[in-house]
């Protein structure tokens, strides 16, 4: 039976994947990544956008090697296991809009679902509002699925199409090797760097890259997906993916609490977080809904982009654009609280996601 060939896709496999991601993230924090942000796809893509100068928020500019590692790890894994499938054409512009909405929501909360887990594991009580928002957002998404929501079929594409996004990632990786971070310099060549704030907090370059690549391989093989975890539970009562998320939470918590003393329970003064419960919740509702409609959390989208899925790649590009807008327009939150236009942006994106949802409910495929 085919599925048995893939050990990481079994129940013990997904649990092992969750443990590895949880432990690796907490170790990355210990080695220099920001607090409760060992690995956060939304935050790190935002930092990448900053490093490229797509936005000029000085404290969040750094080409995070974890992002490139994840995508390229997934590419190598999919090539090795013959799972690299160039595909695309399933409503790309809609996926771009969903990626933008997801990023805008995530940056109001300050984190992707991976970081929700890491913030919880670090004792950040504000993340409880994020979890609640994520569940509600994904829950709304499942209502659309029950009504037949789908973004249409993807089709096989040229090898070059499948390789385009990984090449883009490899190109950025090369750029950050040519123009590396130089202490005290906010700019090296074409790239921007943070001298203070979360963007200046990072584990050694090579460690970040290698850990990212390992997670890329494990994520690609295990199909680890935080949004899918909640979606499958709500929609099908399937616990498979949820066990992976739970394993990540427990592993990160035990590492924080027992090994590295990084567990600090409370609401106030949490690293890279604010205490506005309503918008911690609201931001994640929008993000959760956008992830659900697009079929994967940011980590999963990045991994699928590495496997040749051009639609997932467009979602990631949408997230990069969303990050740029978030900081250029003052939508993103900071430790001081929610940005001036954050709430209205969240509401607008929520309405947009609802419209996208309703607009694609009529689709019934070729059901037999």
């Amino acid at each position: 039976m085919k599925s048995f060939r893939n050990v990481l896709a079994t129940t013990p496999g997904i649990i092992a994947a969750g443990v590895v991601i949880g432990v690796a993230a907490v170790v990355l924090q210990h080695l220099g990544n920001p607090g409760n942000m060992g690995i956060c796809i939304a935050c790190f893509e935002r930092d990448v956008a900053g490093g490229l100068g797509l936005h000029r928020a000085e404290i969040v500019q750094y080409l995070r090697p974890e992002i490139f590692g994840l995508c390229l790890g997934a590419l190598l894994s999919s090539l090795f296991f013959r799972e690299f499938r160039p595909r695309g054409g399933s409503s790309p512009i809609i996926r771009f809009a969903l990626g933008m909405s997801a990023m805008i929501g995530a940056l109001v909360f300050l984190g992707c679902p991976w970081r929700v887990i890491l913030r919880l594991a670090g004792g950040d009580g504000n993340a409880l509002f994020g979890v609640a928002g994520l569940i509600v957002g994904v829950g709304v998404g499942t209502l659309f699925f029950r009504k037949g929501f789908a973004l249409g079929r993807s089709h096989g594409q040229s090898r070059m199409t499948g390789l385009m996004f990984p090449l883009f990632m490899a190109g950025l990786l090369v750029l950050s090797l040519i123009f590396p971070f130089a202490p005290g310099q906010a700019r090296n060549g074409v790239l921007w760097y943070s001298l203070k704030g979360p963007g200046a907090a990072h584990a050694p370059f090579l460690v970040s890259l290698v850990v990212g690549a390992v997670i890329g391989v494990i994520g690609q093989r295990s199909r680890f997906c935080t949004m899918g975890a909640f979606r499958d539970m709500i929609l099908f009562r399937h616990w498979h993916l949820f066990l992976g998320v739970l394993a990540m939470l427990v592993a990160a918590f035990l590492m924080n609490k027992g090994v590295l003393q990084q567990f600090h329970p409370g609401f106030a003064n949490q690293p890279v977080a604010h205490t506005d419960g309503l918008w911690n919740f609201g931001g994640m509702v929008v993000a959760g809904l956008a992830f659900a409609l697009a079929g994967g959390c940011p980590g999963r989208q990045l991994l699928m982009a590495g496997e040749g899925d051009a639609d997932a790649a467009v979602f990631v590009l949408g997230m990069l654009a969303g990050a740029a807008l978030s900081h250029n327009f003052g939508l993103a939150s900071s430790t001081a609280g929610v940005g001036a236009y954050g709430p209205i942006a969240v509401i607008s994106c929520f309405i947009l996601c609802l419209i996208i949802g309703f607009a694609h409910c009529a689709w019934r495929g070729d059901r037999v």
Binding site: K2, R85, S90
Partner: protein, 76 residues
């Protein structure tokens, strides 16, 4: 006995599982063929079918094109 066919090629998560579960719910027993075109869908549909008490065999050779699979779901 006629075999129901579900074409889930090109669909992203969770559509293939939804279509397969819909078919299983409607048919209750017998045979259903599910066409998919990704390893993830093979795993997901297999897991879902087994959770409903259906047995699953996977045949790459009977699929219409390379990179596609035909999942054979059956229940007494």
């Amino acid at each position: 006995m006629s075999v129901k066919v579900v074409d889930a090629r090109g669909l992203s998560c969770p559509q293939p599982v939804i279509l397969a579960l819909d078919a299983m719910k409607r048919e209750k027993s017998g045979r259903i063929e599910v066409l998919v075109d990704s390893d993830v869908c093979v795993e997901n549909v297999t897991r879902a079918a087994r959770s409903q008490g259906w047995s699953v065999t996977c045949d790459e050779r009977r699929a219409p094109a390379p990179g596609e699979w035909l999942l054979d779901l059956s229940k007494e």
